[in-house]
Symmetry: D2
Subunit: 444 residues, 4 copies
């Protein structure tokens, strides 16, 4: 799907879905804060000159801003709140949990908060309604650790069973911290709630280490992750430059989006090649170029996102633990490079590094900690104001309410025609010839 | 000046100054890049609904976007480029220098680049035209160190002498990396160049560890700086919670803008009070509140920006080395707190921490490294395209050209009515009573 | 006291005190470990040729090695253990607590362990017998945080009241983690226990961030502390080299021993001067040397331990919070340097950095974590085997039992005639003339 | 070879080799230092009571201590010095290079120092005598980077060609920083020099990230390396505890010696199993134990040294780049664990982490920086005093001269009956049954 199509889709999708769906009914006066969001305030989707021409402001596509409301929906002294973390680990999960608990208790005075263990499983009777009380004391230091104190698991569960659980435990607000799959699950839960006419708000905090969820700026944990990945790139460069025929090859996370590879490569500005899923690579054109680079400079550094070059790999398998198989592109490329240099009789000292889980299980860096806290504050404000079926994000430096359908309708990717990829191209000096979209290559 | 006034000023100022002033004359075809900025593209200043209502896109105040141009002004093979760093240290200076050198050499093929030593001094004959050649080999590892390899100094020099130097050395482009004072100096240099009708571009990369320059999003080095400051806050919290009557008091940089204090405090979410220059503090109201907090919780954590509470201090002096005198608010508050607890017979274990220069002399973190590189790329593109008297910045996630007069007309500050301060207020739970704007207090 | 006198004292002291005093009575067979220390094994104090000549091995002064014993004194299923942390913070306190708890529970099967809050205060009825249960779950992540989860306080309490408390709570083993003052307190407690003929073991883990306790090799947390201090030295060097007339001045912890200053200075090998308490400084000789160095090289870096040059300071006071007064040598020297350069008309940009509490409140680095764990293991083995009135340490790469009187009889200091100081002298190139022991200077 | 045999060998070997072989001839008075090593001073090999009994000090096996000598062999103003780094990367290489250069220039006044590029290759005419001048300015910041600025390569070269090169370039001292293979090469070079009756000193600084060289305490870079490895263990533990059936499996460096695995595991004290080359593992006994552990606690953490369990692997191959093949034990064990859990129908989420090169290419931590500097100082003192065919090390906290034959005669390994392994056993609680030496198991 091209960038233009995606933009069209976003606007179409928005037209079809409720904007930060308010719950019906009861309104409570919120008297402890002096700063409120004006209910008519909006954050525009797009402010290019072309898009604005001929419009007035009134009908522009826009998000509802996040923040505290003068009128809140729930009575803090009476409600019970649940929190669940789903999917793979990501730096900042514990910051979000802690931020939710502290904002609920300190700012709103909510005292009954439970965490569900191990993702949606903890919300299903079959798995035992595994919950723990979350208090300020319990979450005191959790932001200093990676992972999630609640545990996590992959996959969704039956929405009906989950709403049964929410009913049974008397939950009024459910916060879901998870990826796009989990958000689809959250939406099904919200729909089930609506069908049963329950007054339970479902608010998501979107999690994606690959930064591939739209409308949330950089996703939380992303800076921490690519910062950690930078260490591997530095290591590979150090190895490559220390030995004759040195080639550093680093594989980083990024199934569908190459943001981590791009940012980590730019951070040291030492990479000679960055290969990402968004831009097809022609390995047969790449190899001789690499050999020439090594011959001329004595060394080279290659950074690949795991999802690049998938056309060179057999349909992927997963092992029992759900880990990625050895069909990774990095492993494939390693073999191809070694074979190519060997065939050409060129000396090579290839060092392959894959930091894998290390970059996603570290604690959040200070920037991400701030971001997680503010996302948590926004999520709490949204839920307390009776919004549901939304995720919190940031758009043009404002915290906003993004309807779940919009958040899962598209995928955030590196734009091959955009500024970021151009920065990478300029920094690496890599030619377009073996990294142009396949259709272009066919045309050329 | 209120926020509204500032906005008005910005727009008035813009009307009066050239937008990324193009140099007159010669145009060279730039043939090595496939991705160019459309010359009619613009980034809007403001896209609130109110501002957009009744306008069409054509006449909206806007910035020229940064990026490579199809037509460039200078012939890379013939020009000589100068780089100078001015003012106090900031994480990322060496990344910017390295980014400029690598972009000039690798992307444009410029081979003659010099660095001027010790700020504007290095451009003045009296101080000896202290220059060094900058090559890719010279800048290879400099991004791994803090500080600036070119050295720096404070204060401006006579623009006429500086332009004499540029003439003498045959400099075609001067990159100035410095703060608002240095940018005013850069503007005077550009004006002197214009008066002499020379074809020398002056392009700035704005530096401010306090994040107090407008139109550049977060200034480079800011994330690194507040991240490092977070360590002091964590240390103070650890000390405060470990001992009976523990009070941690941390003073952070921020003469006029409290961004570092706010972000560093949010990063750990442990602070009980954050005091910043933008929001007046009533120490007499603060002290009993602090004592009560210590009595109730056993400990407290106070974060102050150095520029807070200046009304309590005598007019400030500076010592021979230009360092701040002992009149810092942190030192003053330390004394007041100790006196107050002593007078009240309350046990106190106060730990005072001021990380001072440590937070500004560290290497940039990976995020700032990426940002510095991209600012450097944008600065090189701007200069090569013949733009002058501008600084590069980011606005609404685009790199933009900001006319120097606009960049120095206002100061970026924490908005006491904005989202950031509200997040701090919610996170600390501190009352408004002793941190409300003075005028409000007078009215109350 | 000269090094020779100290050695004599050590041996005399040893003769007078019990060696890792065994308790009388009950012996339990310890059946779960295959690796035991031979009861006749000894680690020699001193193995210089001169000392060994004319002796046979039998009567050499020696320590009892640490480690598990075949026969243990206490029945793990019946005993209750107490842990207390005293004095200032030090990296690794939580590692030691965690190590004690995990070794007691996992290896010996002890299930009843309590922590006393806020140092010896927690053992005194007046302060409320403030205790908390310590379980493996409670200590799971505490090693990732600085400080001590038990809290701490300064000063000793009445031994009689403390033993009353131990009696009342049924404590069989008390682990004291603290400095020399706390160890003297532990000795008095052990004596009181002996006087009452109780079967309670008192075992210490010596804590000193200054590395000034003898017989324990490097004290735990020392490497972490000087490693953290290195950041300040690097920052000061970066500042000093970035500006004309740059002088970096760093004050580090070290009241009586300059180990942190020496090691942190060696770590970057950039310092021009290191001033420590063990070697008197003549400031009037130092200042012109410094000025010459700045004139010749453009910058200089000075590292001082807080306890250096005390003869230049008035008798020291402490404020209400027990913090050091502004009479620090670093502050004094800062003033003297500024005055001296000003008087000489020499440009100076002096940057003063004192990391203070930051270096003692960080989590332990991996080396110190290992060391803390092994000290904790040794302490538990010693106590379970019925040893009392001792501290664990390392001597010649073995863990040993050091009788408390021996551990507090002397102070570990940098030997002005030893290898470490010689390394510092060679690395800095600083002359002996203004840092020779006063007596030598008088003689010269 | 048992520990007892090794000790015998060490003493026999010592008898056969010259102790820090002095060169014959010219002696220069060394007048700039006040602190000297007494030429009769010795550091004992062994000071166990058993070993000392019946001896007097005079004939005890001992090392010559390192340090500055009153009389030096070379005239600093006339000599030329060469430095070469060989073998794999290790944290601290640049610190050693910088320490050698600064000690030679600042302390002794040697001004002509060259670095040979890419290991012994740079000393061979065929490869082009690739040298670069080493000055204080050149080495100013290199300690802040990992790797080696001189480059490195594996393998030895013809000693005759190397001595030809030394002759040709007029080298008087050659410093070799490398592993045991490189030290054997250094010895052959020294023998060739002796055969030619040249006055060229060859002094080694032993490098081994695995800490497997005897007589040098911890090898430089070891603390940095295991500290970095700790991050992978923490990541694996975070992953394992966050998901149902979580198993973390971390493979660390250590072909023959498991020190990194042991120390890194102790640093977090979270591992359930540590498998090292020194202690055979019975995988068939291990697997059911692991499954039980996961069932009981919900998760498990396994740390393996790459050289463990080699009996389970086919004879190892190496690929073109000299990297280890996929026959690593970690990869093998990963497969066995997955198969075993699958066969048993037990849920498993296995996360495999191998930090590989990342742990060896980072800059040295502050402790290792100090150690590298002091080793460099000792090496310079030894060479200047005319010692040759030795490496510098530390033994019982003294820097010593270790004859090369002694340094390469044995391998430092984790003693299965020693304190370190006992600490690991206690910390993990792992049974001896599947990690007992094979001979014991046979006997049982």
């Amino acid at each position: 799907m091209s960038a233009m199509d995606a933009a069209d889709l976003r606007i179409r999708t928005l037209g079809e879905c409720r904007i930060s769906s308010p719950l019906r009914g009861l309104v409570t006066r919120h008297g402890t804060t002096e700063h409120y969001v004006d209910e008519t305030d909006r954050v525009l989707f797009d402010d290019t000159v072309a898009m604005l021409a001929g419009r007035n402001g009134g009908d522009l596509p826009s998000f509802e801003p996040g923040g505290p409301r003068r009128h809140i929906y729930f009575d803090p002294s009476k409600i019970r709140v649940g929190i669940v973390t789903c999917g793979g680990l990501c730096p900042g999960l514990n910051d979000v949990i802690r931020g939710l608990v502290l904002e609920l208790t300190s700012h709103y005075g909510v005292s009954r908060i439970v965490g569900f263990r191990n993702g949606y499983r903890g919300l299903v009777a079959r798995h035992g309604h595994d919950v723990e009380e979350l208090t300020p004391a319990r979450v005191q230091h959790i932001n200093e650790h990676g992972g999630t104190v609640l545990g996590t698991s992959r996959g969704n569960q039956d929405p009906a069973e989950i709403v049964d659980c929410l009913d049974q435990l008397g939950i009024n607000i459910l916060f879901v911290i998870g990826g796009d799959g989990s958000m689809r699950g959250a939406q099904r839960i919200a729909r089930e709630i609506a069908d049963r006419d329950r007054r339970i708000a479902v608010v998501g905090v979107p999690k994606t280490i690959d930064n591939d969820i739209p409308w949330i700026g950089h996703s939380f944990g992303f800076q921490t992750a690519f910062g950690k990945a930078t260490e591997s790139i530095r290591a590979a460069h150090t190895e490559a430059t220390a030995q004759p025929g040195g080639v550093g090859l680093v594989q980083l996370m990024g199934r569908h989006s190459g943001f981590i590879a791009c940012y980590a490569a730019l951070a040291t500005n030492d990479a000679d090649y960055v290969l990402i899923p968004e831009v097809p690579v022609d390995v047969d054109a790449f190899l001789p170029h690499l050999r020439r680079r090594v011959r001329e400079r004595g060394h080279a550094l290659v950074v690949v996102a795991e999802g690049a070059g998938q056309n060179y790999l057999p349909a992927e398998g997963t092992d029992a633990s759900g880990n990625r198989s050895l069909g990774d592109f990095g492993i494939y490329l390693r073999r191809r490079i070694l074979d190519d240099f060997t065939a050409a009789g060129t000396e090579i000292n290839l060092k392959y590094i894959d930091p894998s889980y290390v970059i996603r299980s570290v604690p959040a860096n200070p920037y991400d900690s701030v971001y997680c806290l503010r996302l948590a504050q926004a999520a709490v404000h949204a839920a307390m104001a009776g919004r549901t079926e939304l995720v919190v994000g940031t758009w043009r430096n404002r915290f906003v309410h993004v309807p779940i359908p919009l958040a899962v309708a598209t995928r955030n990717q590196v734009d091959p025609d955009g500024d970021l990829w151009m920065s990478v191209r300029e920094a690496t000096g890599q030619p377009a010839s073996f990294t142009t979209p396949a259709t272009d290559r066919a045309a050329a």
